[in-house]
Subunit: 276 residues, 2 copies
């Protein structure tokens, strides 16, 4: 029996819990506040950030949308610093990638660690590596949340993490270094990925190539976390082929796996920041 | 032919280069300054920090030794903040472990990123994970320096990193995630270490068990970086047995490998900070 790690169902449960926590915080006189910062004119990004705002409001979080269509590093950093000081705001999310020409490191480094609910700043990433309490990126939290909800242990396993982003694969590998696991990390273009995947008890892929992982690359009983999203028209495909998933003991489907959970876990982190 | 990666000889070369860079900086009107902070009454730590001061002065660096025998978190953080503001000081080194009862995270998080020449703060560790320019811990730099000096490429290899410290094994694994390598990291008590080591092209150990790694645990031609230091009386032993080293293509001896290089690379980072 293969276990499907259902991100949509889990999202609903997380959102219910978040709503209850918001209510409790409000009863205590605190309304969790989230600032959403978007740079540039990309329509899809704007739509996604607006969705985050609506979801936040739906669970009772106060949300501000700051859209800097034309901006400079100085203006962006000044906005972040203002939000750092604003007592209404407990969490700051800066949508990446930034508009062209803006310095990403400068921006994320300006976010106060105690408000970095999206786990973007070097301070947060360093704390993850050290095993200190912080707000890991939503993609990392989504994976840990699925393991918890479905009663799977992430420990005493060999994880193979394939991918290179600062918001998923690298912080995931850093996070795992503080658990009882072996973790192997390789880049998505590394020619040894097939043989590495074969050694894995848990696979996390961020390859962005439709059904790249074939059945011969995984061992029976593997747990698959597929973070791939390759679009063909309106259809989206993961990194792992259906034949490989048949060999798995548990897997996240694409669509409907980790993707839908990201907003819920950003909101959960915001509530945690407000209660601290 | 087995290549011995000689840390003492390399240290001498690094020190000569650092001395030349200090001279050039002084000619331009800048004297590199290093603050060394020690807490508590441990005699060995005091001796080691004094050695760092003497070595710094020998290459022309201005060095201050701040010894807080009895202190509090507040006093320690206040000292670090004063050093952050001091224009004479380009680098701050806080000797770890701190005296009992002091909060390590609070202290290292107070070091200004541009003066964190020992690579201790979460901000620095996060930048290492992101692949951004920063000052990695001396232990990581020592390994990279040896590869450079001996014309070895760290890339296109499978590294197996065994160890758990925030100043060596975890930042090394994070650093390697931004190179063309596969990296597997496991804790020093992980029961799978022997089988993992067998898959390695490069092994970095921080196990602290005399000659734990036997010949059957490594493959012929492996490169061994042995960061173990197990004392028996006045004699010191590494993690890797002589029989295993015989199978290696290159290795760091213990003593005389990475250990002696640590101070030189702290000084090199201080000079880099002064020139920035």
């Amino acid at each position: 029996m293969t276990l499907v790690l259902d991100g949509r169902e889990t999202t609903e449960k997380v959102m219910e819990e978040v709503a209850a926590e918001v209510e409790a915080l409000k009863a205590g006189g605190v309304t969790p506040g989230l600032a959403l910062v978007l740079t540039g004119g990309d329509k899809n990004s704007a739509r996604y950030v607006k969705l985050k705002k609506r979801r936040a409001e739906k669970v009772g979080i106060y949300a501000e949308f700051h859209h800097l269509e034309q901006t400079t590093d100085e203006e962006l950093v000044a906005l972040i610093q203002r939000l750092n000081e604003d007592p209404k705001i407990h969490g700051i999310m800066v949508q990446l990638p930034l508009a062209e020409g803006l310095g990403e490191l400068k921006a994320v480094d300006a976010i106060a660690p105690e408000k970095d609910v999206d786990g973007l700043s070097p301070n947060t990433l360093g704390k993850i590596l050290m095993g200190e309490e912080t707000y890991p990126p939503a993609g990392v939290e989504a994976i840990m949340e699925l393991f918890r909800r479905y009663g799977l242990s992430p420990e005493n396993k060999h994880w193979v993490v394939v991918g290179s982003s600062n918001f998923l694969s690298k912080p995931l590998a850093a996070y795992l270094m503080n658990m009882k696991v072996r973790v192997t990390r390789a880049g998505e273009r590394c020619p040894h990925v097939p043989e590495l995947l074969k050694t894995a008890d848990v696979v996390s892929t961020e390859i962005q190539r439709k059904h790249f992982v074939t059945a011969d690359m995984v061992k029976p009983g593997v747990i698959v976390i597929d973070n791939g999203n390759t679009y063909e028209g309106k259809k989206v495909y993961g990194d792992v082929s259906p034949e490989a998933l048949e060999k798995a003991s548990a897997y996240t489907p694409v669509p409907g796996g980790t993707g839908p959970m990201l907003i819920a876990l950003l909101l959960k982190a915001t509530v945690k920041a407000a209660s601290n």
